[in-house]
């Protein structure tokens, strides 16, 4: 059960699949870019774009995971039903669920942005909190 020791001595060298998993690598880079936008950008709209980039990066990761080389899309064509014919359908379902979640979340964030702008005429969250301090609400 104690697997920490092994992982520490393996942890120094990077595993072998990095070049093979280039899709996942790009997805993770995109995820971090979106994460950083969501965390660092002062402009709310760019925060929301970063949120969308983050979500789509995760979905790209899932889609890459579902892909199997040389197999077709999971739609039964002329009665062939062997598991060797089609790619893994599960990640597609998960991504289909996730896309709708992300669009609703971004719509909610955009509505909040509109209201904040109509009140304070700025998109910078820190300036908004400073104005709130000033008006001492």
């Amino acid at each position: 059960m104690r697997f920490m020791h092994y992982s520490e001595e393996e942890g120094c060298k990077v595993g072998a699949n990095l070049l093979n998993n280039y899709g996942e690598a790009v997805a993770m880079v995109l995820f971090v870019i979106g994460f950083g936008n969501l965390m660092l950008q002062s402009n709310l709209i760019k925060k929301i774009i970063g949120l969308n980039i983050m979500d789509t990066a995760v979905y790209l990761f899932l889609a890459e995971k579902g892909y199997i080389t040389g197999r077709a899309a999971p739609i039964v064509a002329d009665g062939v039903q062997s598991a060797e014919a089609y790619i893994n359908p599960v990640p597609s379902g998960l991504v289909l669920t996730g896309i709708v979640v992300s669009v609703s979340v971004s719509a909610l964030m955009l509505s909040l942005t509109i209201r904040l702008y109509q009140r304070y005429h700025t998109l910078d969250l820190d300036e908004i909190s400073l104005q709130l301090k000033k008006e001492g609400l």
Binding site: F31, L51, M54, L94, L112, T113, R115, L116, S129
Partner: protein, 502 residues
Amino acid sequence: MSGQMELEFVQNFPCFSIMFCMFAGIISSAFKEKIARVLNIAVLTVNIILSAAVLLFTVRAGNYVYVMGKFPAPWGNELRIGVLEAGLALFFCVIMLLCLLGGRHKLVQEVEEGKQGLYYVLTDLMLSSLLALIYTNDLFTAYVFVEINTISACGLIMIRQNGRTIEAAVRYMIMSLLGSGLFLVGICMLYDLTGHLLMSNIQAEIGRIVAEGAYRPPLLVTIAIISVGLAIKSALFPFHAWLPDAYGYSTVSSAAVLSSLVSKGYIFLLFKIIYRVIGFDVFHDSKIVNMLFIFGLMGMVFGSLSAIKENDVRRMIAFSSVAQIGYIYMGIGMGTQVGMVASVFHVLSHAATKSLLFISAIGLTDVSGGSRKFIELTGSGYRNKCAGMAFSVGSLSMVGVPMFSGFISKLLFSQAAVQNEGKMLPTLIVLGISTILNAIYFMKTVIRIYTPVDDVEYPTVSWGENKIYAAVLLCFVALNVFLGICSQPIVDLIEKGLGMFA
């Protein structure tokens, strides 16, 4: 295949309770505020009855698996109901009902007329998502309902529309979206490593992985990512920037529900993941427990310090809930069974006490001209006797005076610390420090509200004027004292449930 065998009718109740909440939310979005409120209270009462029946059944017959649909374990969705799940569902329904009843008069004042119906829609859907988070046996279902929970919590914050609440809602959304992004990545990696989404199958696969020794580093990173994501969502110490505004300025029932239920839902999901997905031993062997432990200790101290600095009652209570969440994570971070039991009990006691504090604080501020500053609150305990009594009970329980619930959880925490030799000293020291700090700021408030002031320009409220409010406060106090006095059966129940969990 447990799905195919004949079930008792009681076993359908969890599915029914989730679906009832969703139906209530959907239907009441068509009607006016009055019908929505009646529907909401009816659904909450029905849910209390159903959860109580499920709790009795599980205590009698042990835990069982409920297949949502025709297809059993690795193929379809599942609910898994045990003692702990049923008890927590019952508790959450009771707390939510009391919070909504207690905060209603403020809701009518603070939310504009046409939008009070939507408030009850949000609460219905939030309750359904909480129940689904409690009952579900599937990680991706958990993710979807975490999103529902986040969106409805944001709606509860922003429905009182002033600048503070909208800004707080934006900050809350940003933090919790960072958290859910990390959580989703963790789920995807787990799926990639194990090929399952159902908790039981994932646990079996992880056991095999750890035994074989393949994929150890990604598994470790995955555990870390999931824990950090859920910690961000439940406002662990470094990530609590959104919390004081969100709790301090939203309408009072929202503040009570958020502080007592929403974060607890995420924490319970973390419990489930530790026990049922990753496995307790694997989680205990990883270094993440120490990380959670350290952050919990920091939260206990810094939350209390910033609560001492506040001069606004509701923000002070909000900061103290940062400290209490630190307690819970400290209990998780001990990595022992006893610590887990203490954390679960603290979830219960904190939910009861914090909502009591919020709702009684609103009574005190109402008789002080609506101002939350301490200087205005002087003597308000005499002007609104019932709220003052309830507030002092809550404060005593938070400080950890015997015969109240907070004392029991502190006792359990210290027992867990004594049994864990490595982390005993820091735990006991920080527990003592944060108890002293709690005592400082809560006793300051209690003394302030019971300081007699000669020229009283504010009106005096008697018990009978708002009967529902007084009754809610009495129920909360009774719940608190019940948790404090006959705690042994509850602790036994929690231990039984955690035993069934693994």
